[in-house]
C-alpha cells in the first residue's frame, strides 16, 4: 500500500475544493450553452453535483489512518477528562509511581548484579575453578592444583591465578611509608581480564618464574596519587617492603575487578611446590566450542591425575574439581535474595494496580451517564474500551515516568546507606545505572499495569444498560451489585497481599533484632583493630614477628587510655583459616578424634583484650615462645565436639599433618579451654577453634601467614578508640622499625558489617511492606468512603426512621472490617505458604513465627480500622433531610 495517500492531506483538500469549483463552473457553462439563464445554470450545476463537502469528507476520510486519529482524539479527551478531576489523577499517578518506583529500584539493582555481563572481554567463556566435595563447591587453590589445571589445554585456553592481597604490602621509600593493596597474579592475568595497559607492559612469563626479579605493575589510582601520573615511572624502581621493584607498566582506570588492587606483583610460582594450603583463586578461559559440562567431565580426570601425583591425602575422598561461570561465581549467593525482593515489589505493584483499578471503577460508575450517552450516540463497545484504556495508559505512563525518577533516586539513597556486601555494585552502588534494560523494564511494567488496572473497569463500563442508566434520575442511586463486588474483591486482595508483605518484613525485622541480640562471645565495645603488613623478607621467620609483638604490645599498653593490646592473624567475624588436626594417641581417621577446626594464631593477651572468658586451664603467657613446649588453647565448641568424653587438657594434638611442609607443626599440649565466639558470623553456631601462640609458629608457617594475612592489632581502651589511632600508629611504627598500619576499624564496625546483608534485606523488605500496607489502607478507605457517599440517601432514610448514628457507624465499620478480615485470612494462608521462601534468611525466628503471625494481622487490622473510621464517622453526619431532598 502506498503511503502517498496519508501525506499533505490539508493541501490536497484545498486542491480538491478548487477542482470542484472548476467542475461547477464548467457545468454552469454547459448549462448556459443550452440556453439557461445564468442563475438557473448555476443552480442546476450545484443541484446535479450534490454537496461538495460530502465529496471532500469522503476523500479526507479515505486519506486518514482512522485508528491513529481516533487514538489521538481519545488521548486529548483523556487528558481533558483527567484534568477535570486533578485530585483523582494525582492520587492515581502517585500510587502507580510508588508501585513502579520500587520495581525500578529493585530491578536496577538486579540489572547491575545479575544481568549485566562482566566487563571483561568475552565474559561468557570465563570460569572459576572450584574444589567439589559432598558439602558443595568452593574456590581456592594451591600450586599443585594450579599446575594440574594449567595442563588441561584441551579445555582451557588460558589459566590465571590471583590472590586477594590479604596481607597488604608496604610501599616504603620516601618519608611516609604506606600500606597498599598488592595483589599477586600470574602473567596471564592481565590478558585474560583485558586490562588496558596505558604505559609500559605487563609481566613476561620469565618475570613470573621463580627468581624472575622484583617487578610491579601499578594501578591508575596509585600511579596518580603516589607518583603524580608521571609516565617516566615506567622503568624506574619503587620500594616495596624495603626491596627495590622495577615498575614495568601502568593499568588504565577503566579496569575494575572484584578484587581491587593498588598494584600487582607476579606470583612467581615454584611449580615443584608441594604446599597444600589453598590461598589463591584460579580463573580460566574455556576454549571456544567447549561447554562447561565438557570441561567438568575433563576435570574429573584431572582430579584423578592430581590424586595420583600428590597422594590421596591431597584431596578429600569423593572430592574433585569443577568450573562455574565467573559471572555466577561473582554473583554468589545474592541471586535468591534479590529475586525475593523482586517478588516483594511485584506484590507492591499488584496492590498499586488494585488500588488504581478501584479508583477507576469508582470513576467509571460516576461516569455511567457519559458512557451511556456516548453509546446511545453510536459509539461502539470497542471505542469505549479504547477510550478507557487510553485514560489508564496515560495514568500508568505518567506514573511510570515519575516512578522511574523515584526509583532511581531512592535506590541511590538506599545504596549510599547500605550495600549489604552485594557484589558488583561498585563504590556506593555506582554501577547501578539507568541503562536500556532498566528503561525497557519500566516501560514494560508501565504498559502492563496500565492495561491491567484499566481493562477491568473498561470492560465493566462497556456494556452499559442504556435504558436503565439513562432513566436513572441521578448518579446517586447506588453502586451496582457487580461493580461493588468487584471493588470488594480488589480490596480483599490488596489486604491479603499487604499482609503477606508485612509478615515477610516482620520476620526479617525480628531476625535482625535477634542477630543484634546475639552475644558474639567477645566484647566489641571500644575495641580498635588495625592491620600491619608483615609481607617483607624480614618476616619469613617467626622470631622477628614475635619481637614486634612484644615491643608493640608494651608500647601500646603504655599509652594513656589503653586497657589492653594484643595481635592475631585474623579477626572474629572477619574470616579466617581452617586446619585439620589429630588427637595424639587415638587411632588416626577414627572420628571424632580427628577433624577440622578454625585456626587462629594469636598473641598472649588476645583473650583479655577481647574479654573472652577462660573456662578451664590456663591462658597463654609471654613465656609460651619458641623455646617453650608447644601449647594450644581450644574453645568450648571444640571440646564438646571432639571430647564427648575424656579431658582435653590431658591430650595433645597434631595440627595440619597433611597440609604440606609449611605446617611442620610439632604436637601441642592443650592447656586451656575458652568461651565460644561467633567467628563465622552471628547467625552461625560457634564452630571449633584452636588458638596457637604466634611466637610458637614454625618459620615456614609464619612465612605463609605473612604472605596471606596481615598482623591485626587489637586495642581495648577506656576512651573512644578513634582518638587513639594516631598515638597507636606512631608507637607501632617505632616498634616495627617503620611499618605503617591500615584498615583501621572498630570491632563495632566489623560487627555491623557482618550483619549488613541482613540489614539490607530487612531495610528493603520493610520499606516495601510499609508501602504495601499504606496502599492497602488507602484502598479500603477509598472503597468505604465511596460506598458511604453512594449510600447517602439510604443512610438518610435509616436515620429518619430512627437509626442511631452509632448504629450507622458500626454498620460501615462492620462492612469495611469484614473485607479487611477476609483479606487478612487469605493473607495468613498465603504467608503460611510463602514464608518458607524466607527460611534461609531467618535466624532464631521460625518461618511460622507465632508472634509475627498474630501481631502482623492485628497491626494490619488496626491500620485498616483507622482508614475505615473516617468514612464511618462521615456516615453518622448525614443530614436526613438533605439526603432525602437529593432525589
Amino acid at each position: 500500500m502506498s503511503l502517498r495517500r496519508y501525506v499533505h492531506r490539508a493541501r490536497k483538500d484545498q486542491d480538491l475544493a478548487a477542482e470542484i469549483e472548476s467542475h461547477l463552473a464548467h457545468e454552469q457553462d454547459a448549462n448556459a450553452a443550452r440556453g439557461l439563464p445564468a442563475e438557473e445554470a448555476r443552480r442546476q450545476a450545484r443541484l446535479r453535483f450534490g454537496n461538495p463537502r460530502t465529496v471532500r469528507e469522503h476523500v479526507w476520510r479515505y486519506r486518514s489512518l482512522l485508528w491513529i486519529e481516533g487514538s489521538w482524539r481519545d488521548l486529548r479527551f483523556a487528558l481533558r477528562s483527567l484534568a477535570r478531576t486533578p485530585q483523582f489523577a494525582w492520587i492515581a499517578v502517585l500510587v502507580i509511581a510508588v508501585g513502579i518506583g520500587v520495581n525500578t529500584a529493585v530491578f536496577s539493582v538486579i540489572n547491575a548484579v545479575l544481568l549485566k555481563p562482566l566487563t571483561y572481554p568475552d565474559p561468557r567463556s570465563l570460569v572459576e575453578l572450584r574444589n567439589t566435595s559432598p558439602q558443595g563447591a568452593f574456590p581456592g587453590a594451591n600450586i599443585p592444583k594450579f599446575n594440574v589445571w594449567h595442563q588441561q589445554t584441551g579445555i582451557f585456553q588460558q589459566v590465571a591465578a590471583y590472590d586477594f592481597g590479604g596481607a597488604g604490602l608496604n610501599l616504603t621509600g620516601g618519608d611516609h611509608p604506606e600500606q597498599v593493596q598488592g595483589i599477586h597474579v600470574t602473567a596471564d592475568y592481565f590478558a585474560m581480564f583485558g586490562a588496558p595497559v596505558i604505559a609500559g607492559r605487563t609481566f613476561t612469563s620469565a618475570e613470573d618464574s621463580p627468581h624472575g626479579g622484583n617487578v610491579v605493575v601499578l594501578s591508575y589510582g596509585l600511579w596518580k596519587s603516589r607518583f603524580g601520573g608521571n609516565s617516566k615511572i615506567v622503568g624506574s624502581t619503587i620500594q616495596l617492603d624495603g626491596q627495590p621493584y622495577l615498575v614495568v607498566g601502568v593499568i588504565g582506570s577503566s579496569f575494575v575487578t572484584a578484587t581491587p588492587a593498588d598494584l600487582w606483583v607476579p606470583f612467581q610460582f615454584d611449580l615443584n611446590s608441594q604446599d597444600m594450603a589453598n590461598y589463591f583463586t584460579v580463573v580460566a578461559r574455556i576454549k571456544q566450542g567447549v561447554t562447561v559440562s565438557q570441561a567438568n567431565a575433563q576435570l574429573i580426570l584431572a582430579a584423578d591425575q592430581y590424586r595420583r601425583t600428590y597422594g590421596g591425602e591431597a584431596i578429600p575422598p569423593q572430592g574433585g574439581f569443577s568450573v562455574v561461570s565467573l559471572q555466577e561465581a561473582t554473583i554468589g549467593d545474592t541471586r535468591f535474595p534479590l529475586l525475593i525482593l523482586l517478588g516483594a515489589v511485584g506484590f507492591v505493584l499488584l496492590i498499586a494496580c488494585a488500588n488504581v483499578a478501584n479508583l477507576l471503577l469508582a470513576r467509571a460508575s460516576a461516569r455511567k451517564h457519559e458512557f451511556s450517552t456516548r453509546a446511545a450516540l453510536g459509539a461502539g463497545r470497542g471505542q469505549i474500551i479504547r477510550q478507557l484504556l487510553i485514560e489508564s495508559l496515560v495514568l500508568s505512563m505518567s506514573g511510570g515516568l515519575l516512578g522511574l525518577g523515584l526509583g532511581y533516586v531512592g535506590v541511590r539513597l538506599l545504596l549510599n546507606i547500605n550495600l549489604g556486601n552485594i557484589p558488583r555494585l561498585g563504590a556506593n552502588g555506582a554501577s547501578v545505572s539507568l541503562d536500556l534494560n532498566v528503561l525497557l523494564f519500566t516501560l514494560g511494567i508501565s504498559l502492563l499495569t496500565g492495561i491491567l488496572f484499566g481493562l477491568v473497569p473498561a470492560i465493566g463500563a462497556s456494556h452499559p444498560n442504556l435504558v436503565a442508566t439513562l432513566n436513572e434520575s441521578g448518579s446517586r442511586s447506588g453502586i451496582s451489585f457487580s461493580t461493588g463486588k468487584l471493588r470488594s474483591l480488589l480490596v480483599v486482595s490488596e489486604m491479603a497481599l499487604a499482609l503477606i508483605l508485612v509478615i515477610g518484613a516482620a520476620l526479617l525485622v525480628r531476625t535482625f533484632y535477634k542477630l543484634q541480640a546475639v552475644d558474639p562471645g567477645f566484647d566489641t565495645h571500644n575495641v580498635l583493630t588495625m592491620a600491619m603488613s608483615v609481607s617483607g623478607d624480614r618476616f619469613q621467620r617467626t622470631a622477628p614477628v614475635a619481637q614486634i609483638l612484644r615491643g608493640g604490645t608494651e608500647r601500646i599498653r603504655a599509652i594513656p587510655g589503653v586497657l589492653d593490646a594484643a595481635a592475631s592473624n585474623s579477626l572474629p567475624l572477619d574470616g579466617g583459616l581452617g586446619m585439620t588436626f589429630d588427637i595424639l594417641g587415638r587411632s588416626k581417621g577414627d572420628r571424632p578424634f580427628t577433624g577440622g577446626a578454625g585456626f587462629s594464631s594469636i598473641s598472649w593477651r588476645y583473650f583479655s583484650a577481647f574479654q573472652i572468658p577462660l573456662v578451664r586451664g590456663r591462658n597463654f603467657t609471654e613465656d609460651d615462645d619458641a623455646s617453650a613446649p608447644g601449647v594450644v588453647i581450644i574453645n568450648e565448641a571444640m571440646a564438646k565436639q571432639y571430647w564427648p568424653e575424656g579431658d582435653p587438657l590431658r591430650d595433645r594434638i597434631q595440627i595440619g599433618a597433611n597440609a604440606g611442609p609449611a605446617f611442620a607443626e610439632l604436637p601441642r599440649q592443650i592447656v586451656g579451654i575458652v568461651g565460644d565466639t561467633h567467628d563465622g558470623g552471628l547467625n552461625r553456631d560457634p564452630f571449633p577453634i584452636m588458638y596457637i601462640p604466634i611466637p610458637q609458629m614454625p618459620d615456614a608457617e609464619t612465612a605463609l601467614n605473612s604472605r596471606v594475612a596481615p598482623l591485626w592489632w587489637i586495642v581495648r581502651s577506656k576512651v573512644d578508640p578513634h582518638t587513639l589511632v594516631t598515638p597507636i600508629s606512631e608507637v607501632l611504627r617505632v616498634a616495627s622499625g617503620g611499618l605503617p598500619v591500615a584498615h583501621v576499624r572498630t570491632m563495632d564496625e566489623i560487627e555491623v558489617r557482618a550483619i549488613s546483608r541482613q540489614r539490607f534485606n530487612m531495610l528493603f523488605l520493610t520499606i516495601f511492606g510499609v508501602a504495601g500496607l499504606l496502599m492497602a489502607a488507602i484502598g479500603v478507605y477509598g472503597v468505604m468512603s465511596y460506598s458511604v457517599q453512594q449510600r447517602t440517601q439510604e443512610l438518610g432514610i435509616r436515620l429518619a426512621l430512627g437509626a442511631q448514628a452509632s448504629n450507622l457507624r458500626n454498620m460501615v465499620i462492620g462492612q469495611g472490617m469484614a473485607l479487611t478480615l477476609i483479606g487478612v485470612a487469605i493473607g495468613i494462608g498465603g504467608a503460611f505458604w510463602l514464608t518458607r521462601l524466607l527460611a534461609s534468611f531467618l535466624f532464631e525466628v521460625r518461618v511460622w513465627d507465632p508472634l509475627t503471625f498474630v501481631g502482623t494481622p492485628l497491626l494490619l487490622s488496626a491500620v485498616a480500622l483507622m482508614a475505615i473510621w473516617i468514612p464511618a464517622k462521615r456516615a453518622t453526619r448525614v443530614d436526613p433531610m438533605r439526603a432525602l431532598r437529593l432525589e
Binding site: 502506498s2 477542482e19 453535483f49 476523500v59
Partner: protein
C-alpha cells in the same frame, strides 16, 4: 419495481468507474467535467456518472500512481485540473479491461444459458 429497475440501469457498477476513467484518458489528458461528459456521451447517455463519486475516484487513482495531474486552462478559458494516464495507469487499464471482458463473458454465458 419497474421504475426502480430503470433507475438502476443508468448507475455505474461498483468498481467500473475506475476502468471507465482510465479508458477515457487514453484519448488524452482531460479534466473532471470532460471525463464525466465523455463517459456519458460515449455510452450514448446510457451511463450517468454520479459526480459525487467521480472526484474521490480520480484522487484514489492518482494516489495509486495510475494518473498524474496538473492545473491548466480549459477550452472555456477556465482554470481546471487535467488528469493524464501514467505508464502504470496504462498497464492497469489493459489488465482491468481483460478482467472486465472475462467477467462479462462469464456472466453472458450464464445469462445465455438461462435464456434458453
Amino acid at each position: 419495481m419497474i421504475s426502480k429497475k430503470a433507475a438502476a440501469a443508468g448507475e455505474i457498477l461498483q468498481g467500473t468507474l475506475d476502468l471507465l476513467i482510465l479508458r477515457t484518458l487514453v484519448l488524452g489528458p482531460a479534466h473532471g467535467h470532460t471525463i464525466a461528459q465523455v463517459i456519458e456521451r460515449t455510452s450514448e447517455n446510457a451511463l450517468e456518472v454520479e459526480q459525487g463519486s467521480l472526484y474521490p475516484a480520480l484522487h484514489r487513482l492518482e494516489d495509486r500512481g495510475w494518473l498524474s495531474s496538473e492545473w491548466g486552462v480549459s477550452e472555456n478559458n477556465r482554470k481546471a485540473k487535467f488528469y493524464r494516464l501514467t505508464a502504470g495507469g496504462r498497464k492497469e487499464l489493459s489488465a482491468a479491461t481483460k478482467r472486465w471482458q472475462r467477467m462479462t463473458r462469464a456472466i453472458g454465458l450464464i445469462l445465455g444459458e438461462l435464456n434458453e
